[in-house]
């Protein structure tokens, strides 16, 4: 249970970073390690997907953006989705129904990412932003409240995408993160090579599938830990009655690090990497 508390804490930090502008700090050079609209009146960080589109439109080669994203991805992989992203947190708050992952829909988020880039390249416009539910929540609604936006068609489109996503999230846990998030798609590329990893000790695993029931992404963690759909949230670690799963920082591909259930946990028994 304490791993989840810890996660709620870091998710709270993600939300805090998202609204850090309340302190009066303006826009910084930092890229947000998740999906958070930089048009949000309280944003102090740059949305990676928004920036990506603008750089494509401007014809810049995004060294800074890709360098930062690579380092984010190599550090936590999709762990950012599970532990930090405020929109992921919204998904978590509405995760009433854990459904099985529909593998056929998995490439959708890659398609969204590619479509976003292609739309920026060919149509020279930030089309993803116009539909992004995170922008609906953190930009459209606040600006509407501030009187800067009018209830026009684009506003209602935003409300539509937000409503649809919220409905999806209520019906299927982490619906946005599972199938549609382009930021998740970017981070998933680094999921296997990242230093935060889910590890399984197969000798302890009885394949009871409790982890699958607990997984908000609806995958089989004992088979697919660290796969592109694993957000490394640690729900499976908590659910495993045999302590066969653990979440820890270590060398990707390497075996043997103690489960990091709590930051103060002592290192001890060796495990087998789920990468194997």
């Amino acid at each position: 249970m304490r791993l989840r508390y810890l996660r709620r804490g870091t998710q709270g930090l993600g939300v805090l970073l998202g609204i850090f502008g309340i302190t009066g700090l303006g826009m910084t050079h930092l890229i947000f390690p998740g999906l958070h609209c930089y048009a949000c009146p309280l944003a102090v960080t740059v949305c990676p997907i928004g920036l990506l589109q603008n750089l494509v439109i401007a014809g810049s080669i995004p060294f800074y953006l890709l360098g930062v994203l690579a380092l984010y991805g190599l550090a936590l992989g999709r762990g950012w989705c599970g532990w930090f992203c405020p929109f992921g947190t919204v998904n978590d708050l509405l995760a009433f129904r854990r459904a099985k992952f529909v593998r056929a829909l998995s490439p959708l988020k890659i398609l969204v990412l590619v479509g976003t880039v292609v739309a920026a390249w060919r149509l020279l416009d930030t089309w993803f932003c116009k539909l992004c539910p995170a922008a609906s929540l953190t930009a459209s609604l606040p600006y509407f409240a501030l009187g800067l936006a009018q209830p026009t068609t684009p506003f209602w489109i935003h409300m539509g995408t937000l409503g649809g996503t919220v409905l999806g999230m209520v019906l299927v846990s982490r619906f946005w993160c599972r199938y549609l998030c382009p930021m998740g798609a970017l981070l998933s590329l680094f999921n296997r090579a990242s230093f935060l990893g889910l590890r399984i000790r197969r000798e302890k695993c009885t394949e009871c599938k409790r982890c699958r029931e607990a997984c908000p992404m609806g995958i089989d963690p004992y088979l697919e830990g660290n796969s592109s759909n694993c957000i490394k949230c640690g729900e499976c670690v908590e659910a495993c009655p045999h302590k066969a799963l653990s979440l820890s920082f270590g060398f990707p591909g390497g075996s043997g690090f103690a489960p990091l259930r709590f930051p103060w946990a002592r290192s001890g028994s060796r495990g087998i990497s789920a990468h194997k």
Partner: protein, 691 residues
């Protein structure tokens, strides 16, 4: 030997005289004793400063340095739209509610007064009174100060002013004002004959002196200097300094003295100076009216292009004599008359005595008519009222950044990038580069003259080619001169700044950095590979990827992409994030509404802020263009809010650190209209608010 040294020491020590200076009120001295400087504000503080007061809807920060003391300034707008100014008086990097200054509303903005403490690098600290003005809706302040102090030297009043408002005396821009003629009034306007820069000697009764100033400005050490003739006064009542010139069209040699017996308007102007051109029709009318009665105009053109001048003379039909040297501000006549801004016009009476300066059209007509009716007398008339006030002191507004050194090879062109940063809220016009002391064997290619917008930045490339024909090695450095002008309301100033370009011979020329594509290609390949590797191989690959990620990140930062990211994120394009509809770039205003625009009786200037990627902006631009096309009294200016971010900031288009586009600003009232919904009726309503 010891005696000789002692004698020399004595001799030098008696020559220098130390006089004490005490703080003086500028009101007792003159307007020149109040230095005005624009002070830029930013959406975020430049260092870690915490604000602990009540919630502010908008915050703008500045960092004021007075010697080594640095004060954070916070201009805030409360949710109730009250404007407040906070200064971190105790310099603890925390702005508490008690550090709010009490301000007064003045016409066009707010004003505050505060006494800060300056800590010069040497000497003791001192009080530094400042007046702070905020022009309403702008992203900058005006600081009014100068910590003027005064004393007496040989029975004459002498004053010292911190002309650059940096809290340290003796730095560039500071000046001395000496009542050299002993009339009890000091003429220390920028072209006054009693104003002296600190490295300039002043002359009192046939003896010249030079002053040394300690950083705290408590005293002046005045020593003798080689005799320098005193500056000629240009105040009303003084005889006009004579000069001869070649008339531009006829080539005839004329002198100012040859017009004695006529009332002469000596007009310093240029075709590139908009206020000068605006006054031209009035002058033509005045000339036509009074020329027959003995009125003459002598124009001194500060143009560079004879073509431009010829065209203007022909198109306006200017009949009066024009002096032209083609040297812009290096014009010898302008130097003789210490002209620092144009238009500058002196009205001389029939005796050649300066009577008035820079009169407005109506006052000029009256003065000319009165002077024409005056009989020619040999007695000089009593001086006319004092000269008009000079509200702003011209000073360099550009900051130049050049590479530390550039490698050059014989016969190979080297490229030098010069970053030109405008630190002021004024447009720097026709910025041109030149090399005043370029040795033979060098060839340079400088960029065409360009403008730098208020607080804007430009990168200029200079190509330098060194051909060693005489077997001589090139100098280690050459002087780069940057000339430009800028206008504040109805006055234009010429500025010249210099920077040294250092060279290293033999080193390969500085090459343009090629983009390391391979970093990103390797990163992508590594990511793909990571999907197929296991065990130790994956570990190794991960570390390689970290290295590539760091390399890409560092290169991006070096390339300025971090700043680019911040800039992109700082602009809120309402249609880009779908807050508003992207409209077609055609605007159809209903006929009834259009006729209301057509009949709008007042003049108005609309500034349309846009960004290249804003999809609604073309609509806003087209709509405003249509409005302007039906009414010549409505003018339009299109401003790229990304490129001219400072202008956007100054106009209040930046909200919470983000430029909101499209935005239309009515210059006369400062009113801002965001978005495109019902735009035409909203513009009409805003125009009607113009008083």
């Amino acid at each position: 030997m010891v005696f000789l040294l002692a004698f020399l020491f004595w001799a030098f020590s008696v020559q220098a005289e130390e006089i004490r200076l005490v703080p003086e009120s500028p009101e007792n001295l003159g307007d020149w004793a109040k230095v005005v400087q624009a002070f830029r504000l930013y959406p975020t503080p430049s260092r870690s400063v915490r604000y602990e007061g009540p919630t502010l809807a908008t915050q703008l920060w500045g960092d004021l340095a007075l010697g080594q003391a640095r004060y954070a300034l916070l201009l805030g707008v409360t949710p109730q739209n009250a404007v407040e100014l906070y200064v971190d008086l105790d310099r603890d990097n925390r702005i508490s509610p008690g550090e709010k200054l009490s301000g007064t509303r003045v016409s066009g903005g707010m004003a505050w007064t505060v006494s800060l403490r300056s800590e010069p690098p040497q000497g003791s600290s001192f009080d530094y009174p400042l007046q702070i003005l905020w022009p309403e809706g702008r992203g900058y302040l005006f600081l009014v100060g100068g910590a003027v102090r005064a004393g007496e030297f040989r029975g004459r009043r002498i004053a010292l002013v911190d002309g650059d408002l940096d809290g340290v005396f003796g730095t560039k821009g500071d000046f001395l004002a000496v009542d050299v003629d002993g009339d009890g009034k000091i003429y220390a306007e920028p072209d006054g004959h009693e104003r002296f820069s600190l490295n300039e000697p002043f002359t009192l009764g046939g003896e010249s002196f030079r002053a040394e100033v300690p950083p705290d400005g408590r005293s002046l050490r005045i020593s003798s200097a080689a005799y320098t003739p005193p500056k000629v006064p240009l105040i009303p009542g003084s005889p006009a300094p004579n000069f001869t010139f070649r008339e531009f069209r006829t080539g005839e040699n004329l002198s100012l003295a040859s017009f004695r017996g006529k009332v002469v308007l000596l007009d310093f102007w240029a075709t590139w100076c908009p206020p000068c051109m605006a006054s031209l029709p009035g002058l033509l009318e005045l000339y036509r009216e009074f020329h027959a009665q003995g009125f003459e105009i002598v124009g001194v053109s500060l143009d560079e292009s004879a073509e431009d001048l010829r065209r203007v003379i022909a198109s306006y039909g200017i009949p009066w004599p024009i002096a032209f040297e083609g040297k812009r501000w290096d014009n010898s006549l302008a130097n003789l008359w210490r002209v620092y801004q144009i238009p500058t016009a002196y009205l001389l009476d029939k005796q050649g005595i300066i009577r008035f300066r820079d009169l407005e059209a109506d006052a000029l007509r009256k003065a000319v008519s009165e002077l024409l009716s005056e009989p020619v007398t040999l007695e000089a008339p009593a001086p006319a009222p004092s000269m008009p006030e000079v509200s702003l002191r011209p000073e360099p507004i550009l900051e130049l950044r050049v590479p530390k050194e550039t490698g050059i090879q014989e016969g190979k062109a080297a490229k030098v990038s010069v970053r030109v940063i405008n630190t002021s809220p004024y447009l720097a016009e026709e910025v041109r580069f030149s090399f005043p002391d370029l040795p033979p064997g060098w060839e340079v290619e400088v960029p065409a003259p360009f403008n730098v917008p208020a607080f804007g930045e430009r990168e200029a490339q200079i190509q330098i080619l060194f051909k060693d024909s005489a077997g001589k090695s090139p100098p280690a450095a050459v002087r780069l001169s940057v000339d430009y002008h800028y206008c504040i309301e109805d006055a234009c100033f010429q500025m010249s700044q210099e920077e040294k370009l250092a060279f290293v011979l033999g080193a390969s020329p500085e090459r343009a950095l090629s983009l390391p594509w391979w970093i990103l290609a390797l990163l992508a390949a590594g990511v793909l590979l990571s999907w197929f590797l296991f065990g130790r191989n994956l570990t190794v690959l991960s570390f390689v990827l970290v290295g590539l990620g760091v390399a890409a990140l560092l290169f991006g930062v070096f390339w300025g992409q971090a700043r680019q990211a911040q800039r992109i994120a700082s602009v809120l394009c309402t249609s880009c994030v779908g807050i508003e509809e992207a409209r077609a770039p055609t605007a159809e205003i209903p006929a009834a509404l259009l006729s209301e625009f057509q009949n709008f009786p007042k003049t108005a200037h609309l500034m349309v802020f846009y960004t290249p990627w804003c999809k609604s902006c073309p609509y806003a631009k087209a709509l405003v263009a249509q409005i302007a096309s039906v009414n010549p009294r409505i003018s339009v200016e299109l401003i790229d809010a990304d490129e001219k971010r400072a202008e956007a900031e100054a106009s209040g288009v930046i909200r919470n650190g983000k430029a909101v586009v499209p935005a239309i600003v009515i210059r006369e009232t400062g009113k801002i209209l965001f978005g495109t919904e019902d735009l035409a009726p909203r513009i009409l309503a805003a125009l009607r608010e113009i008083p």
